[in-house]
Symmetry: D2
Subunit: 139 residues, 4 copies
């Protein structure tokens, strides 16, 4: 684990006041934590723009399990990417609709392509790829 560095920044009073109010509403306990979050967000965004960097993400799918073949095809595509999948969670939303979250890791480009293919499947009503991080470089 690495060490902390402390440094000073100058911010205009009014700007700081607006920021303090906003982060209080969001539940932050102090400015340092809120600023670290802004910095980490910025780093994660840029990391995902580099197609080769190794990322972690979640693919969220909502699908109708009554559409013939949809479960089989989603399972099949995932089995071709077992090295990039940590885990799956499944929720039965109602009689028709399922929500499935797939936790993935790998090169940004591979992960994007896997998400595209799952979302494109007939029966999948909505899909998202959420970009997060291994956390390792964000100590």
């Amino acid at each position: 684990m690495s060490n902390l560095t402390r440094f000073g920044i100058s911010i205009d009073d009014e700007l700081l006041h607006s920021f303090d109010q906003l982060i209080k509403n969001a539940g932050y306990q102090n400015r340092s934590e809120a600023i670290r979050d802004l910095i980490r967000n910025y780093l994660v965004q840029r990391q995902w723009e580099d197609s080769q960097s190794s990322v972690v993400g979640t693919i969220t799918l909502v699908y109708d399990h009554h559409v013939p073949g949809v479960e089989h095809k989603l399972t099949h595509q995932q089995h071709e990417h077992t090295a990039h999948i940590y885990a799956n969670t499944h929720v039965h939303l109602d009689q028709h609709n399922c929500l499935e979250v797939i936790i993935v890791k790998g090169p940004a480009q591979t992960i994007r392509s896997l998400a595209d293919r799952l979302i494109a499947q007939r029966g999948v009503k909505h899909g998202n790829l959420t970009c997060t991080t291994t956390g390792a470089a964000l100590a």
Copy 2:
């Protein structure tokens, strides 16, 4: 379950050609499915803009479980929202870093506020709220 309506649309040749190439790469089997996905995406985006509408989402957190109190606080905040949480999935990314996905439902505003508070917690390095749908209105 509702019925299908079939209708015609006119699209410029070149535009259609570019679209066909793009959706083939993404893995779509036909135009109808790709267009339905664009429509559903548009509906889900607008749904989340209405703070009162009932939505489904996932909150993805990456945190360092060695930060004192972080696990306790994340658990505590979730227990105040049990009515809005379907399920949790946890992945041990490395010795320090955990990834947790929380599947949530409820009014858009409540869900946003819960996500804000979890992400604001010290020890949480990165967080996202992914907006999806109950699927019910997207038959």
Copy 3:
């Protein structure tokens, strides 16, 4: 004009190192300025989420001026909103395509609705609403 406040924040060495590299590439001269930008971005995002707050933005339209009636309709809709428009800039992209930037101010909801209507016009190929700020509260 208001005063500057100086305060300290603590950041992990590795995180700070990654941040320093990224902002150097982006052309920032020091951390304070980069952190102020992250803070201002966060404030502007939240400001636009409140439908009543007064905002400034730009609406960018690309349209084919050969489509009958498109110029007339775009002009007509703007004349119903003169109180919300600062200025227009027009670029002739090629023989068919025009780009027009409309600089707008007003309540977030009004501005969104004006943008929707302009983008929906037949002949308009692509449109964006860019959310920025009056700058006044971001001293």
Copy 4:
């Protein structure tokens, strides 16, 4: 100019009903135009993900012209990119704040980098890069 192709798509009744309501509110006159806009949006998004493709965009800056050197530096950076700039529009927001819109074209990566450098400038309070299109491939 190219020709129109007409083809049929099948959509579930309920989904179509929600879509029809939404596009009516946004000011669309028919489904074809709304669907063409969704398709063009999708194409433009993917185009910007390819760093080499030639794009058009707008860079919106809000800055305080009292900050020493800011105008000079913004002008200087733009003069190094005259080949990528169509036009500038300037609005005096209040005694301190200026809004400037720069209409740009070029390879996506070059445009992103120019935007980064302008936004990073001290005195620039907020900046956005809006990604649009030459329109040429979106006939």
